[in-house]
């Protein structure tokens, strides 16, 4: 199915469609997508880095696949994610606030989660709204739960979403990488560092 549908920051709709149902396809290895358009991974690296540097509250949401050291790869990724977070924090101005908020599990929590300390796939918009997050990156979240979150965020918030997926990527993010490794996350951190000072920070 060919598509003219663009995956853009919302709020999009009371119930936005899944981007895959609108004809948006996932990238192949070595590629990424931006707004549903397939691009070279290097191009996406730069756009993602610029998004972090231009955001008021650039935020990383690490999920259970990287929060627990259940294998060597996960531990390495966690170290790389921490490095990316520290890099973003170093590279933004004092008026910007980089955040690292975990999605520790997918349990439904009632009456609601504490949005200051976690994000939940069943109502991720609460954390976005509460912290005024305008750019976020999902990493280490199971694909199904990531897609739920990304679509709900697109539906009800204006947050720019990035997915650093270890599998095939996410159409429901505005920008998605695939086959994520610790090295790829470190490359993104390098890109943020390289572009430091070249991106206009948000105006007060």
């Amino acid at each position: 199915m060919s598509s003219v549908y663009q995956v853009l920051p919302g709020p999009e709709h009371f119930l936005p469609p899944a981007a895959a149902s609108m004809g948006v396809c996932l990238p192949d290895s070595g590629q990424a997508h931006i707004h549903g358009k397939i691009v070279n991974e290097e191009e996406a690296m730069e756009v993602a880095a610029r998004q972090f540097l231009a955001a008021r509250v650039p935020t990383i949401f690490p999920g259970p696949l990287v929060l627990w050291a259940w294998n060597e790869k996960a531990a390495k990724k966690a170290t790389a994610i921490r490095h990316l977070y520290e890099t973003i924090k170093e590279c933004v101005t004092p008026s910007q606030e980089a955040m690292l908020i975990p999605m520790p599990d997918y349990r439904p929590k009632y009456p609601k989660i504490n949005p200051e300390i976690e994000i939940n796939p069943n109502h991720p918009n609460l954390t976005i709204w509460h912290n005024k997050i305008d750019t976020c990156m999902f990493v280490g979240v199971h694909c199904h739960q990531a897609n739920l979150s990304l679509k709900i965020i697109r539906g009800g918030t204006c947050c720019y979403t990035i997915a650093m997926c270890a599998q095939a990527g996410h159409e429901d993010a505005m920008l998605s990488f695939r086959d994520a490794t610790a090295d790829k996350i470190m490359r993104l951190a390098d890109c943020v560092k390289r572009l430091k000072g070249s991106v206009k920070p948000p105006e007060d």
Partner: protein
């Protein structure tokens, strides 16, 4: 990918784990004369399955029993009989939640009895493969071929493929796992065939080597956590988190459903690669196209030959996958056709309805001929209906045999 690193190792039965693309496309094939049921067994032998759960119902019972022999020979990790079709499908879910590659077979009323499980499988993102050897489902009882049950599967959120021949069946069982287990798909597959016509007839089928098998299922690539009792989807079984009455719960459930259908869409890319397209077209330039799936296509091919002998040019479109539905492919294939004939082995003509909803100028679609309840579909009746559509005289077949 963890499974790739296992290529070259041996499994529990001593088979060599082989790259699946190489297994299906580059290994030497051995022609073998088998029934469809035997073909199911031979495909499962090479599928590196962990669990097969069985329950007897015609016409799949023979295949289910033959797979029991595979268990005895060490090719399957576990094999047992459930208490009913509903129980079987629930047990399949349990095995898949636990990270097993699961295979089962059913038919007709068995499919209907187990129906509640299929949207659950899809919602839980369980890549179970279920063979559906279609037969009559209504009262009075009929064990004979009839494809009405497929229409009930179309909106379950499962992938639904419809094999025409035993060769399709063999290849698609193996390829089906490769598509269904992709992390961006990860959905159950209902691989359907027309009972008896495929299961109980013999055909020459080219088999891949018996000492080679697919890589095992890698549950760590699943898009949902594996058997976590505190998290959906497992938690849904005991405490439906979306049963709370508030907007957030409704929106979550809606997004969950959308994600299942998004996964069907994502399967297109993989299905096109593995099945060499979602449809197969022969002579799309013809004014008259026969479009269908399953053995109705085979009968259509015979009708095409008969009509060509009379100088009437006819094309054939074989629909391989019903979910994902090949809408764009069908629109393109039928672009030039003036008459679209849809023969079906069911009373409602669900395939014709799908095609009518897909193409411009749907008046071109002739929903028929239909047979059901086990009737055969002689190619002569397809040819006769085409002639009638063209305003040509055709010999009546109603009195045949009198």
């Amino acid at each position: 990918m963890a499974t790739q690193s296992l290529v070259g190792t041996t499994n529990r039965a001593g088979q060599t784990v082989t790259d699946p693309w190489e297994l299906m496309h580059a290994t030497e094939r051995t022609p073998s004369f088998f029934t469809g049921s035997e073909v199911i067994k031979e495909a499962v032998r090479r599928a590196n399955c962990d669990v097969m759960i069985a329950y007897p119902i015609t016409p799949q019972s023979e295949a289910a029993a033959l797979i029991g022999e595979l268990f005895a020979e060490g090719f399957i990790g576990d094999y047992f009989r459930g208490e009913s079709e509903f129980a079987v499908m629930s047990q399949c879910a349990g095995a898949a939640f636990g990270g097993a590659r699961v295979f089962t077979t059913t038919a007709g009323p068995g499919t209907m009895r187990a129906m509640e499980n299929f949207p659950m499988w899809a919602g839980a993102r369980l890549p179970i493969q279920m063979i559906v050897t279609c037969r009559g489902i209504n009262s009075p009882l009929s064990i004979q071929p009839d494809t009405l049950e497929i229409s009930y599967l179309l909106n379950t959120g499962m992938l639904v493929w419809h094999a025409e021949t035993a060769q399709d069946f063999y290849d698609w069982i193996l390829k089906g796992y490769m598509v269904a287990e992709e992390p961006d798909v990860h959905l159950p597959l209902a691989l359907c065939c027309d009972g008896f016509f495929v299961t109980h007839t013999k055909d020459v089928v080219n088999l891949t080597p018996a000492d080679m098998c697919l890589p095992p299922y890698d549950p760590y690539r699943s898009p949902v956590p594996c058997m976590d009792m505190e998290c959906p989807p497992v938690r849904m079984m005991r405490d439906p988190f979306v049963m709370k009455s508030n907007y957030i719960s409704y929106a979550t459930h809606a997004s969950w459903q959308q994600e299942v259908w998004a996964a069907i869409e994502r399967s297109r890319k993989h299905s096109i690669r593995w099945l060499d397209g979602l449809i197969e077209v022969d002579n799309a330039d013809a004014d008259i196209l026969i479009v269908s799936s399953g053995t109705a296509v085979s009968q259509g091919r015979e009708a095409k030959c008969m009509l060509e002998d009379e100088g009437i040019d006819v094309g054939i479109v074989k629909v391989k996958t019903l979910r994902p539905w090949p809408a764009e492919e069908i629109r393109e294939a039928t672009r030039k056709a003036r008459h679209i004939i849809v023969p079906e082995f069911n009373v409602t003509g669900w395939m014709a309805k799908e095609i009518r909803a897909t193409i411009p100028n749907p008046d071109r679609v002739y929903a028929g001929p239909h047979v059901c309840g086990g009737m055969t579909m002689p190619p002569e009746i397809i040819a006769a209906d085409i002639k009638a559509r063209l305003g040509l005289r055709a010999e009546s077949l109603a009195g045949r045999g009198s």
